[in-house]
């Protein structure tokens, strides 16, 4: 069942590529249908979700490379299931949004379907090698999206993205091999590694493995100082590519922390948690400040991603710090981190698609070129406003739920850091309000003198993301009920 969800998109992509004479229209509809079916299947997974004794549902474990203790091991728990659902939803949104794409539609659709398989596969992997396979393929897929369909300096941005994240992934692989060699018997299985805690009491080796894993995932997340690939990649990518990159691919890094690093290296994580917290806080503040300085709408959103991912890092780091003090606090911190991943995926996905709509009409992202769009394009203004408010963490949206939990959970363990991170919210609020004011209010100004409102495909793709962010903000229980037990399980391993 889980495997069908994962491999359905790539199978459709293969069919699309293999049939030579398919019109662009048919390709678009096939693409939308495939992602919609996949989303329905994920909904089915969610409804039937009953985690077993291992904590995972839909567990499948097949032999793959037994000589190195690696297998095809997949399953979902409360941490991965929301991300799987987010992935399926966001890819459907991108498919709908891309209904107006006219350049090489067939390859574009195939590439996105391939990426969907890769992203889903990553979130359900319970084996390090399987995880790494998907991790690396996501880089390849996104490289082609940026290089093939980006604008302006796309080739350079794509190359930078590839080299940077590929280096990160190889460092991550070193960490995986380190875990594998430390385990006895040698294994790449995440569940087995979690049970073994292989590096307990192995001072320097454990620290080295943590550094390798941490750097590898930090590049993908990205946290300061490994974020420099992100702005050019985002700016040059097509809108749907940016949405997937920020909405899903960035989560791979933070998800790796929760899924692999914390459970497999609990003692080392606790020992160095203060470093993680500091990195998180620096990302929060630095990302917000740099975003404040941007004149380019898309770059600004890109930098707020650094800021928002910083909250996640802060949460998971603080869970290591407060591990000894209060169980409830660290549960809150980890739950908040997972909620933030989902929330950020929805909101940033929406914002990047809106940025794409802006670029389509004006041909530029520079905010000072625009003004007073609210009068001409009320629906665009409403969606942008809502997404921006959601992104700055206004109560009633998912971001608030997530950030509230992270801050409440972290305050006990890391009071100073958390207080500093509060500043991030303030700065984000300022920069979003300023951007809204400049672009939406005042006298009308737009390159070319005209600004059409959002089209039906755009509205159909962006609205559900914003609405869902609001739904989670108002009725978060259905999501938290799934996340919390899994977060408790992670913390139980993290121990005290």
């Amino acid at each position: 069942m889980l495997s069908i969800v994962v491999f359905l998109p790539v199978a459709v992509a293969a069919v699309l590529l293999a049939l030579p004479r398919v019109g662009d229209r048919a390709v678009r509809w096939t693409w939308i249908a495939a992602t919609a079916v996949d989303l329905l299947l994920v909904a089915g997974l969610w409804i039937g979700y009953r985690p077993g004794d291992s904590g995972f549902a839909y567990d499948v474990h097949l032999r793959w490379i037994p000589s190195v203790g690696s297998g095809y091991h997949v399953g979902v728990d409360g941490i991965s299931l929301p991300l799987v659902a987010l992935t399926a939803l966001l890819f459907l949104a991108c498919a709908v949004y891309s209904a107006r794409e006219t350049r090489r539609v067939r390859s574009y659709a195939a590439l996105f379907l391939f990426l969907e398989t890769v992203c889903l596969g990553l979130f359900v992997s319970l084996d390090l090698i399987l995880f790494f396979v998907f991790f690396d393929l996501s880089i390849v897929g996104m490289y082609f999206v940026i290089a093939g369909w980006g604008h302006r300096d796309a080739a350079r941005a794509a190359l930078k993205f590839f080299l940077y994240t590929f280096l990160g992934s190889l460092v991550l692989l070193l960490g995986f091999i380190g875990l594998y060699l430390a385990a006895s018997p040698h294994t790449f299985d995440i569940v087995a590694l979690t049970a073994q805690n292989p590096l307990a009491g192995r001072g320097v080796v454990a620290a080295l493995v943590l550094v390798a894993l941490g750097v590898g995932l930090a590049v993908k997340t990205p946290t300061v100082p490994f974020h420099t690939w992100l702005p050019p990649a985002h700016t040059e990518a097509p809108a749907a590519g940016s949405a997937v990159l920020a909405g899903i691919l960035l989560k791979m890094g933070t998800y790796g922390f929760v899924r692999i690093v914390m459970p497999a290296l609990p003692d080392t994580w606790r020992r160095y948690a203060v470093v993680i917290v500091v990195v998180g806080v620096v990302s929060v503040v630095y990302g917000a400040l740099v975003a404040l300085a941007q004149k380019d709408f898309k770059r600004m959103i890109a930098y707020t991603s650094v800021n928002h991912m910083g909250y996640v890092i802060l949460g998971v780091g603080a869970a290591g710090l407060v591990a000894s003090s209060s169980g409830q606090a660290r549960d809150l911190a980890v739950t908040g981190a997972v909620t933030q991943m989902v929330s950020h995926g929805l909101i940033t996905g929406a914002l990047f698609l809106l940025a794409g709509a802006l670029y389509d009409r004006g041909g530029t992202y520079v905010m000072s070129e625009y003004g007073g769009l609210a009068a001409q394009a009320p629906r665009f203004a409403a969606l942008t406003g809502l997404a921006a408010f959601a992104s700055l963490g206004l109560p009633g949206f998912s971001g608030f739920i997530a950030e509230f939990q992270i801050f409440t959970g972290s305050l006990g363990g890391a009071p100073v850091s958390t207080a500093v991170a509060f500043l991030g919210i303030l700065i984000t609020a300022a920069l979003f309000l300023r951007a809204l004011q400049q672009v939406l209010l005042g006298a009308f100004r737009a390159p070319g003198g005209r600004f059409g409102d959002v089209t039906t495909p755009e509205a159909l793709s962006i609205t559900p993301l914003v609405v869902l962010a609001a739904v989670i903000g108002v009725f978060p229980r259905w999501l938290l009920d799934v996340v919390e037990p899994a977060a408790r399980a992670v913390n139980a391993v993290l121990g005290g």
Partner: protein
């Protein structure tokens, strides 16, 4: 003393195919010379079958061993020969077609013998058999670049071959034997420095065959100067036997010295130099030439771990197989478009020939080591073995190199998937299908890593 010739059935098949092919080629009319190719392919097929059913043993007084490493080399070499024969459409109907095939088969035989040699004398003989046909192949077209390549290749090969012979003499003098088992006991009491000098001299020829630093200078010139088909063969098949032979030799010589560091330094130098030199190559064949040099570096990372990790030998063999398929796939794309010589000639390939472009992307990313291709599995296991052997620094060097290598492979992939199509003549049909097959094989073997590793004794 076991002198059972049936243990050598695959080698005998190759030798017989070469001789019969030569005779057949003298009598067949020119348009029927393809029969010689068929014969060679059939011999390879039969050889693979014979390999699969063969038993592990040492034969002929222990001078030749049939074990997992030899068997793996046999299979990889013979499959590679078949792939190269598929590429060899341009030589069809050409004068000396059968000679071309016979030279291929003889060189392949030499490569297999290198891998199985358990005796210095046999190793030296295998070295010559694996080299001399290639000198002729490099200059086969009788044009100026080919002749120059051939001459350079020959001079370097002769020099390093003599060095190897000198090394054989020194090691024989020190150890009192040429057969490896006797040698390892003989060397245990010999002076360390002298052993080091002797073994390094023997290694010289093998490094030349493998195209590793510092004996790599011939690789780019031969790859560019000789025909694309010959280049595909020369950069793939001899390496296989040579790397296995290096592994065997240093395992013997480790009785007196730990060779891990020597091999590790050679590995680091090889991959770094290969990658740096590949950076700004515009000619695709020169780019692939330097890429093959860097790949030998990664292979030697696994060899350096030999004796310190159980995974080392299976990892190296897996990598060799993966490298052979993937590298031949890249050359198949080059053979498919004979007119395209520089990177810019591949501009817009995706629009013009989508599946050929996809194959190119798969094999090039495969050479980078992107999952799920088999080279990724090879790299993963090689790195694991090296870390297990405590060679963290070498693995870090290899990782940095891998990232650097992405840059030049992307310089080729980029134009191929983007941009407006350049004018492109109709590609060679057989080579196109070989490229598809190699690309698919590279992914399929990656998925089948588990059974493969099990077969290789991990």
């Amino acid at each position: 003393m076991d002198e059972n010739p049936s243990a050598l059935l695959p080698e005998i098949l190759l030798a017989v195919a070469a001789i019969v092919g030569l005779l057949l080629g003298s009598y067949l009319p020119r348009h029927r010379q393809w029969l010689v190719r068929l014969l060679a392919a059939a011999a390879c097929g039969a050889g693979v079958v014979a390999t699969v059913v063969s038993e592990n043993m040492a034969v002929f007084g222990g001078t030749y061993v049939v074990d997992v490493a030899t068997n793996a080399t046999r299979v990889v070499v013979m499959v590679s020969v078949v792939l190269v024969l598929c590429l060899a459409d341009p030589i069809r109907g050409m004068a000396r077609e059968s000679e071309f095939v016979v030279l291929l088969v003889l060189a392949a035989l030499g490569s297999v013998l290198l891998a199985g040699s358990n005796d210095l004398m046999l190793l030296a003989a295998a070295y010559l058999l694996a080299s001399i046909p290639l000198y002729a192949l490099a200059g086969f077209a009788k044009d100026a670049p080919g002749t120059e390549a051939s001459l350079k290749f020959y001079l370097m090969g002769a020099l390093l071959g003599v060095t190897t012979l000198a090394g054989v003499v020194v090691v024989f003098g020190l150890g009192g034997a040429t057969e490896y088992t006797a040698l390892s006991t003989g060397l245990a009491t010999a002076p360390r420095l002298a052993v080091a000098v002797g073994v390094v001299a023997v290694l010289a020829g093998l490094l030349f065959k493998a195209g590793a630093v510092p004996a790599h200078f011939w690789v780019p010139d031969v790859t560019e100067g000789s025909g694309a088909v010959a280049a595909a063969f020369i950069t793939t098949v001899p390496k296989i036997g040579a790397v296995v032979a290096i592994h065997r030799l240093i395992t013997v010589a480790s009785a007196r010295l730990d060779w891990a560091l020597v091999v590790a330094v050679i590995a680091a130098a090889t991959m770094t130099l290969g990658n740096l030199a590949a950076f700004f190559q515009d000619n695709v064949r020169r780019l692939l030439a330097y890429s093959t040099i860097s790949q030998v570096g990664y292979l030697l990372v696994g060899v350096a771990a030999a004796g310190h990790s159980d995974l080392a030998l299976p990892a190296v063999l897996l990598y060799l197989g993966g490298y052979a398929v993937t590298n031949l796939g890249a050359f198949a794309v080059v053979c498919a478009l004979p007119a395209a010589t520089v990177l810019a000639d591949f501009r817009g390939l995706l629009r013009r020939r989508p599946w050929l472009a996809v194959s190119l992307v798969v094999v090039l990313l495969g050479l980078v080591g992107t999952p799920p291709t088999v080279v990724f599995a090879g790299k993963l296991t090689v790195f694991t073995a090296a870390l297990d052997a405590g060679l963290l620094w070498l693995v870090v060097v290899a990782v940095v190199n891998t990232v650097a290598s992405v840059f030049y492979y992307l310089r080729w992939i980029g134009p191929a998937v983007r941009g407006e199509p350049a004018d492109m003549p109709e590609p060679t049909r057989w080579a196109v299908h070989t490229a598809y097959g190699a690309a698919a094989g590279s992914v399929l073997l990656g998925v089948l890593t588990g059974p493969l590793l099990a077969a290789l004794g991990a």
